[in-house]
Protein backbone atom coordinates (compact mmCIF):
# COMPACT_ATOMS: atom_id res chain seq x y z
CA UNK A 1 0.00 0.00 0.00
CA UNK A 2 1.34 3.40 -1.04
CA UNK A 3 0.43 6.82 0.24
CA UNK A 4 0.54 8.27 -3.25
CA UNK A 5 0.07 6.86 -6.73
CA UNK A 6 1.25 9.08 -9.60
CA UNK A 7 -0.05 8.28 -13.07
CA UNK A 8 2.05 9.59 -15.96
CA UNK A 9 5.71 10.12 -16.89
CA UNK A 10 5.62 13.47 -18.64
CA UNK A 11 6.92 16.67 -17.02
CA UNK A 12 3.94 16.72 -14.62
CA UNK A 13 4.29 13.14 -13.42
CA UNK A 14 8.06 13.31 -13.06
CA UNK A 15 8.02 16.65 -11.21
CA UNK A 16 5.43 15.14 -8.87
CA UNK A 17 7.60 12.06 -8.38
CA UNK A 18 10.72 14.06 -7.57
CA UNK A 19 8.93 16.32 -5.09
CA UNK A 20 7.02 13.46 -3.48
CA UNK A 21 10.23 11.45 -3.00
CA UNK A 22 11.99 14.46 -1.48
CA UNK A 23 9.07 14.91 0.91
CA UNK A 24 9.45 11.22 1.87
CA UNK A 25 5.93 10.39 0.75
CA UNK A 26 5.67 6.65 0.02
CA UNK A 27 5.02 6.84 -3.72
CA UNK A 28 4.54 4.68 -6.79
CA UNK A 29 4.58 6.07 -10.35
CA UNK A 30 3.13 4.27 -13.36
CA UNK A 31 3.98 5.33 -16.90
CA UNK A 32 4.26 3.89 -20.37
CA UNK A 33 7.19 6.11 -21.40
CA UNK A 34 9.02 9.17 -20.09
CA UNK A 35 8.77 12.59 -21.69
CA UNK A 36 5.08 12.95 -22.44
CA UNK A 37 3.88 14.26 -25.75
CA UNK A 38 7.10 16.19 -26.44
CA UNK A 39 8.80 12.82 -26.93
CA UNK A 40 8.27 13.04 -30.69
CA UNK A 41 9.47 16.66 -30.99
CA UNK A 42 12.74 17.05 -32.86
CA UNK A 43 13.71 20.15 -30.95
CA UNK A 44 12.27 21.61 -27.75
CA UNK A 45 13.53 25.15 -27.27
CA UNK A 46 11.42 26.34 -24.34
CA UNK A 47 12.16 23.88 -21.55
CA UNK A 48 13.47 26.39 -19.02
CA UNK A 49 17.19 26.06 -18.32
CA UNK A 50 17.82 24.22 -21.58
CA UNK A 51 18.40 26.13 -24.83
CA UNK A 52 17.62 23.20 -27.06
CA UNK A 53 16.86 19.54 -26.44
CA UNK A 54 15.22 16.80 -28.49
CA UNK A 55 12.02 15.29 -27.12
CA UNK A 56 13.84 11.98 -26.80
CA UNK A 57 16.62 13.50 -24.68
CA UNK A 58 14.10 15.48 -22.63
CA UNK A 59 12.41 12.17 -21.83
CA UNK A 60 15.78 10.71 -20.81
CA UNK A 61 16.55 13.71 -18.58
CA UNK A 62 13.19 13.36 -16.84
CA UNK A 63 13.62 9.61 -16.38
CA UNK A 64 17.14 10.00 -14.96
CA UNK A 65 16.02 12.69 -12.55
CA UNK A 66 13.21 10.48 -11.30
CA UNK A 67 15.37 7.36 -11.00
CA UNK A 68 17.90 9.36 -8.97
CA UNK A 69 15.31 9.63 -6.16
CA UNK A 70 15.38 7.18 -3.30
CA UNK A 71 12.37 5.15 -2.28
CA UNK A 72 10.07 5.64 -5.21
CA UNK A 73 8.51 2.64 -6.89
CA UNK A 74 8.61 3.11 -10.68
CA UNK A 75 6.41 0.92 -12.86
CA UNK A 76 7.34 1.67 -16.49
CA UNK A 77 6.13 0.29 -19.83
CA UNK A 78 2.70 0.04 -18.30
CA UNK A 79 -0.55 2.00 -18.16
CA UNK A 80 -3.27 2.32 -15.53
CA UNK A 81 -6.54 1.19 -17.08
CA UNK A 82 -8.95 1.43 -14.13
CA UNK A 83 -9.15 2.94 -10.66
CA UNK A 84 -11.63 2.03 -7.93
CA UNK A 85 -12.15 3.91 -4.68
CA UNK A 86 -13.22 1.97 -1.59
CA UNK A 87 -13.56 5.13 0.47
CA UNK A 88 -10.19 4.69 2.23
CA UNK A 89 -7.86 3.93 -0.64
CA UNK A 90 -7.68 3.60 -4.41
CA UNK A 91 -7.06 0.31 -6.16
CA UNK A 92 -5.51 0.79 -9.59
CA UNK A 93 -5.22 -1.94 -12.20
CA UNK A 94 -2.62 -1.77 -14.98
CA UNK A 95 -2.59 -3.12 -18.53
CA UNK A 96 0.05 -5.69 -17.56
CA UNK A 97 -2.16 -6.94 -14.73
CA UNK A 98 -0.49 -5.19 -11.78
CA UNK A 99 -2.59 -3.97 -8.86
CA UNK A 100 -1.49 -0.91 -6.91
CA UNK A 101 -3.09 0.53 -3.80
CA UNK A 102 -2.72 4.09 -2.57
CA UNK A 103 -4.46 6.58 -0.35
CA UNK A 104 -4.01 9.53 -2.72
CA UNK A 105 -4.09 9.70 -6.49
CA UNK A 106 -2.12 12.12 -8.64
CA UNK A 107 -3.19 12.17 -12.28
CA UNK A 108 -0.72 13.43 -14.89
CA UNK A 109 -1.81 11.14 -17.70
CA UNK A 110 -1.74 13.87 -20.35
CA UNK A 111 -3.65 13.72 -23.60
CA UNK A 112 -3.52 11.89 -26.90
CA UNK A 113 -4.06 12.83 -30.52
CA UNK A 114 -7.56 13.70 -31.62
CA UNK A 115 -8.83 11.87 -34.68
CA UNK A 116 -10.88 13.33 -37.51
CA UNK A 117 -13.61 10.70 -37.24
CA UNK A 118 -14.37 10.74 -40.95
CA UNK A 119 -14.86 7.76 -43.27
CA UNK A 120 -11.56 6.29 -44.47
CA UNK A 121 -9.46 7.57 -41.57
CA UNK A 122 -9.45 4.33 -39.61
CA UNK A 123 -9.31 2.06 -42.66
CA UNK A 124 -6.32 3.94 -44.12
CA UNK A 125 -4.45 4.50 -40.85
CA UNK A 126 -0.79 3.88 -41.66
CA UNK A 127 -1.65 3.55 -45.33
CA UNK A 128 -1.18 7.24 -45.96
CA UNK A 129 -3.05 8.54 -42.92
CA UNK A 130 -0.33 9.51 -40.46
CA UNK A 131 -0.12 11.03 -37.00
CA UNK A 132 3.66 11.39 -36.53
CA UNK A 133 5.21 13.75 -39.06
CA UNK A 134 8.68 13.62 -37.51
CA UNK A 135 8.58 9.81 -37.92
CA UNK A 136 6.88 9.33 -41.24
CA UNK A 137 7.55 12.47 -43.36
CA UNK A 138 10.49 10.85 -45.25
CA UNK A 139 8.16 8.14 -46.55
CA UNK A 140 6.28 10.76 -48.54
CA UNK A 141 9.24 11.78 -50.67
CA UNK A 142 8.01 13.20 -53.99
CA UNK A 143 4.35 12.78 -52.97
CA UNK A 144 1.45 15.20 -52.68
CA UNK A 145 0.16 15.36 -49.11
CA UNK A 146 -2.40 17.17 -46.98
CA UNK A 147 -1.95 18.37 -43.41
CA UNK A 148 -5.22 18.81 -41.53
CA UNK A 149 -5.08 21.46 -38.82
CA UNK A 150 -3.40 24.85 -38.73
CA UNK A 151 -2.36 24.92 -35.08
CA UNK A 152 1.27 24.63 -33.97
CA UNK A 153 1.35 20.88 -34.55
CA UNK A 154 -0.06 21.29 -38.07
CA UNK A 155 2.47 23.98 -38.97
CA UNK A 156 5.31 21.86 -37.59
CA UNK A 157 4.07 18.89 -39.62
CA UNK A 158 4.28 21.07 -42.73
CA UNK A 159 7.83 21.97 -41.71
CA UNK A 160 8.72 18.28 -41.34
CA UNK A 161 7.22 17.49 -44.76
CA UNK A 162 8.74 20.38 -46.74
CA UNK A 163 12.09 18.63 -47.41
CA UNK A 164 10.29 15.55 -48.78
CA UNK A 165 6.79 16.08 -50.18
CA UNK A 166 6.36 17.56 -53.67
CA UNK A 167 3.26 19.52 -52.70
CA UNK A 168 1.56 20.22 -49.35
CA UNK A 169 -1.99 21.37 -48.75
CA UNK A 170 -2.66 22.79 -45.30
CA UNK A 171 -6.34 22.55 -44.42
CA UNK A 172 -7.58 24.91 -41.72
CA UNK A 173 -11.12 24.92 -40.39
CA UNK A 174 -11.13 28.57 -39.33
CA UNK A 175 -10.30 31.66 -41.37
CA UNK A 176 -6.58 31.59 -40.60
CA UNK A 177 -4.01 29.09 -39.24
CA UNK A 178 -3.82 29.57 -35.45
CA UNK A 179 -0.23 28.38 -34.95
CA UNK A 180 2.80 30.53 -34.09
CA UNK A 181 3.31 33.36 -36.61
CA UNK A 182 7.08 32.66 -36.65
CA UNK A 183 6.55 29.09 -37.89
CA UNK A 184 3.84 30.20 -40.31
CA UNK A 185 6.10 32.84 -41.89
CA UNK A 186 8.89 30.28 -42.28
CA UNK A 187 6.80 27.60 -44.01
CA UNK A 188 4.92 30.13 -46.16
CA UNK A 189 8.20 30.91 -47.94
CA UNK A 190 7.97 27.56 -49.72
CA UNK A 191 6.16 27.40 -53.03
CA UNK A 192 5.23 23.81 -52.25
CA UNK A 193 2.68 24.96 -49.66
CA UNK A 194 -0.94 25.92 -50.38
CA UNK A 195 -3.12 26.97 -47.46
CA UNK A 196 -6.88 26.38 -47.62
CA UNK A 197 -8.98 28.10 -44.95
CA UNK A 198 -12.63 27.59 -43.96
CA UNK A 199 -12.52 23.95 -45.00
CA UNK A 200 -13.69 20.82 -43.27
CA UNK A 201 -12.34 17.36 -44.05
CA UNK A 202 -15.18 15.00 -44.91
CA UNK A 203 -13.59 11.77 -46.08
CA UNK A 204 -10.26 10.15 -46.83
CA UNK A 205 -10.31 8.24 -50.09
CA UNK A 206 -8.36 5.20 -51.22
CA UNK A 207 -8.32 1.40 -51.02
CA UNK A 208 -4.91 -0.14 -50.39
CA UNK A 209 -3.39 3.33 -49.86
CA UNK A 210 -4.64 6.91 -49.63
CA UNK A 211 -5.54 8.41 -52.99
CA UNK A 212 -7.41 11.54 -52.06
CA UNK A 213 -9.27 13.66 -49.58
CA UNK A 214 -12.77 15.07 -49.76
CA UNK A 215 -13.44 18.38 -48.05
CA UNK A 216 -16.22 20.92 -47.73
CA UNK A 217 -15.67 24.60 -48.31
CA UNK A 218 -17.71 25.94 -45.40
CA UNK A 219 -18.19 29.36 -47.04
CA UNK A 220 -19.53 28.20 -50.40
CA UNK A 221 -20.92 24.89 -49.15
CA UNK A 222 -19.20 23.09 -52.03
CA UNK A 223 -17.59 19.68 -51.62
CA UNK A 224 -14.27 19.23 -53.37
CA UNK A 225 -11.59 16.58 -53.75
CA UNK A 226 -7.83 16.73 -53.58
CA UNK A 227 -5.57 14.06 -55.04
CA UNK A 228 -3.14 13.27 -52.20
CA UNK A 229 -1.19 10.20 -51.13
CA UNK A 230 -0.74 11.28 -47.54
CA UNK A 231 -2.92 12.88 -44.87
CA UNK A 232 -1.30 14.10 -41.66
CA UNK A 233 -3.88 14.69 -38.94
CA UNK A 234 -2.93 17.43 -36.48
CA UNK A 235 -6.19 18.70 -35.02
CA UNK A 236 -5.46 18.79 -31.32
CA UNK A 237 -5.74 16.42 -28.40
CA UNK A 238 -8.17 14.60 -26.11
CA UNK A 239 -7.39 14.19 -22.40
CA UNK A 240 -6.60 10.71 -21.04
CA UNK A 241 -9.23 10.91 -18.32
CA UNK A 242 -11.58 8.02 -19.14
CA UNK A 243 -10.26 5.77 -16.36
CA UNK A 244 -11.34 8.23 -13.64
CA UNK A 245 -14.51 9.64 -15.18
CA UNK A 246 -16.64 8.06 -12.44
CA UNK A 247 -14.46 9.53 -9.70
CA UNK A 248 -13.90 13.17 -10.60
CA UNK A 249 -15.69 16.03 -12.31
CA UNK A 250 -14.78 16.48 -15.98
CA UNK A 251 -15.61 19.49 -18.16
CA UNK A 252 -17.21 19.21 -21.60
CA UNK A 253 -13.80 18.53 -23.18
CA UNK A 254 -13.18 15.60 -20.85
CA UNK A 255 -10.57 17.55 -18.88
CA UNK A 256 -10.40 17.04 -15.14
CA UNK A 257 -11.63 20.13 -13.32
CA UNK A 258 -9.11 21.26 -10.70
CA UNK A 259 -8.76 24.00 -8.12
CA UNK A 260 -5.95 25.97 -9.76
CA UNK A 261 -4.49 27.02 -6.42
CA UNK A 262 -3.94 23.45 -5.18
CA UNK A 263 -4.56 21.16 -8.23
CA UNK A 264 -7.10 19.23 -6.17
CA UNK A 265 -10.05 17.79 -8.12
CA UNK A 266 -13.69 17.40 -7.06
CA UNK A 267 -12.56 14.26 -5.20
CA UNK A 268 -10.81 15.12 -1.90
CA UNK A 269 -8.06 12.48 -2.45
CA UNK A 270 -7.36 13.08 -6.15
CA UNK A 271 -5.13 15.76 -7.68
CA UNK A 272 -4.54 16.35 -11.40
CA UNK A 273 -2.06 18.39 -13.46
CA UNK A 274 -1.02 19.10 -17.03
CA UNK A 275 -2.90 18.34 -20.22
CA UNK A 276 -5.40 16.00 -18.55
CA UNK A 277 -6.54 18.88 -16.32
CA UNK A 278 -8.52 21.98 -17.26
CA UNK A 279 -5.37 24.13 -17.13
CA UNK A 280 -5.66 26.96 -19.65
CA UNK A 281 -2.21 26.58 -21.22
CA UNK A 282 -0.88 23.13 -22.08
CA UNK A 283 2.86 23.53 -21.61
CA UNK A 284 5.67 21.33 -20.26
CA UNK A 285 6.87 23.99 -17.84
CA UNK A 286 3.36 24.63 -16.53
CA UNK A 287 2.69 20.91 -16.02
CA UNK A 288 5.88 20.63 -14.00
CA UNK A 289 5.08 23.72 -11.93
CA UNK A 290 1.49 22.66 -11.31
CA UNK A 291 2.74 19.24 -10.19
CA UNK A 292 4.92 20.92 -7.57
CA UNK A 293 1.87 22.83 -6.33
CA UNK A 294 -0.11 19.60 -6.12
CA UNK A 295 2.54 17.67 -4.20
CA UNK A 296 3.08 20.51 -1.72
CA UNK A 297 -0.66 20.55 -1.17
CA UNK A 298 -0.68 16.79 -0.54
CA UNK A 299 2.26 17.19 1.85
CA UNK A 300 0.29 19.84 3.75
CA UNK A 301 -2.69 17.50 3.88
CA UNK A 302 -0.49 14.74 5.30
CA UNK A 303 1.07 17.02 7.93
CA UNK A 304 -2.32 18.10 9.18
Amino acid sequence: MFVLLIIGGGPGGVAAGVYAARKKIKTALVTDTFGGQSLVSTDVQNWVGTKSVSGFDLGKMLEEHLRAQEDIEIVDSDVVISVKDDGEKFVALTKNGKTLEAKFLFIASGSRRKKLNVPGEHELDGKGVAYCSTCDAPLFKGKVVAVVGGGNAGLEAVGDLLPYASKIYLLERGDHPKGDPVTLERIKKSEKLSIFTNVQTREILGDAFVKGLKYADTKSGETKELAVEGVFVEIGAVPNSEFVKELVELNKFGEIVVDHKTQRTSHPRIWAVGDVSDVLYKQNNISAGDAVKGILNIYEELSR
Binding site: V40, T134, C135, P138, D160, A208
Partner: protein, 78 residues
Amino acid sequence: MSNIIIYSTPNCIYCKMAKEFFAKNSVTYKEFNVADDEKAREEMVAKSHQLGVPVIDVDGEIFVGFDRTGLAKALKIQ
Protein backbone atom coordinates in the same frame (compact mmCIF):
# COMPACT_ATOMS: atom_id res chain seq x y z
CA MET B 1 19.52 -16.50 -33.33
CA SER B 2 16.65 -14.63 -34.92
CA ASN B 3 17.08 -12.64 -38.10
CA ILE B 4 15.92 -9.13 -37.24
CA ILE B 5 15.50 -6.15 -39.54
CA ILE B 6 14.35 -2.69 -38.54
CA TYR B 7 13.17 -0.17 -41.15
CA SER B 8 13.54 3.30 -39.70
CA THR B 9 13.85 7.03 -40.34
CA PRO B 10 16.44 9.26 -38.60
CA ASN B 11 14.03 11.37 -36.50
CA CYS B 12 11.66 8.59 -35.57
CA ILE B 13 11.45 8.31 -31.83
CA TYR B 14 9.77 4.90 -31.77
CA CYS B 15 12.59 3.57 -33.95
CA LYS B 16 15.07 4.85 -31.35
CA MET B 17 13.05 3.23 -28.59
CA ALA B 18 12.98 -0.07 -30.44
CA LYS B 19 16.76 0.07 -30.99
CA GLU B 20 17.35 0.88 -27.31
CA PHE B 21 15.14 -2.06 -26.41
CA PHE B 22 17.27 -4.29 -28.67
CA ALA B 23 20.51 -2.92 -27.21
CA LYS B 24 19.29 -3.42 -23.64
CA ASN B 25 18.44 -7.03 -24.40
CA SER B 26 21.60 -7.71 -26.47
CA VAL B 27 19.61 -8.31 -29.64
CA THR B 28 21.53 -7.86 -32.89
CA TYR B 29 19.66 -6.43 -35.86
CA LYS B 30 20.09 -5.04 -39.33
CA GLU B 31 18.86 -1.49 -39.92
CA PHE B 32 17.67 0.23 -43.09
CA ASN B 33 17.11 3.98 -43.22
CA VAL B 34 14.05 4.23 -45.46
CA ALA B 35 14.37 8.03 -45.71
CA ASP B 36 17.29 7.47 -48.11
CA ASP B 37 17.17 3.84 -49.15
CA GLU B 38 14.43 3.57 -51.77
CA LYS B 39 14.80 -0.17 -52.24
CA ALA B 40 14.40 -0.76 -48.52
CA ARG B 41 11.38 1.55 -48.47
CA GLU B 42 9.67 -0.54 -51.15
CA GLU B 43 10.60 -3.71 -49.28
CA MET B 44 9.13 -2.28 -46.08
CA VAL B 45 5.85 -1.29 -47.78
CA ALA B 46 5.60 -4.69 -49.46
CA LYS B 47 6.11 -6.44 -46.12
CA SER B 48 3.84 -4.26 -43.98
CA HIS B 49 1.32 -2.88 -46.53
CA GLN B 50 1.63 0.51 -44.88
CA LEU B 51 3.79 3.62 -44.66
CA GLY B 52 4.60 4.10 -40.97
CA VAL B 53 7.92 3.48 -39.24
CA PRO B 54 9.36 1.56 -37.55
CA VAL B 55 8.64 -1.72 -39.25
CA ILE B 56 10.38 -4.62 -37.56
CA ASP B 57 10.80 -8.00 -39.17
CA VAL B 58 11.55 -10.86 -36.77
CA ASP B 59 12.06 -13.99 -38.85
CA GLY B 60 9.24 -12.98 -41.15
CA GLU B 61 6.88 -11.84 -38.40
CA ILE B 62 6.11 -8.17 -39.11
CA PHE B 63 5.63 -5.57 -36.39
CA VAL B 64 4.42 -2.08 -37.21
CA GLY B 65 5.41 0.52 -34.62
CA PHE B 66 7.32 -0.25 -31.44
CA ASP B 67 5.26 -3.07 -29.95
CA ARG B 68 7.36 -3.86 -26.88
CA THR B 69 5.13 -6.69 -25.65
CA GLY B 70 4.87 -8.30 -29.08
CA LEU B 71 8.62 -8.06 -29.68
CA ALA B 72 9.45 -9.42 -26.25
CA LYS B 73 7.25 -12.42 -27.00
CA ALA B 74 8.71 -13.00 -30.46
CA LEU B 75 12.26 -12.70 -29.12
CA LYS B 76 11.51 -14.65 -25.95
CA ILE B 77 12.66 -11.78 -23.73
CA GLN B 78 11.31 -11.65 -20.18
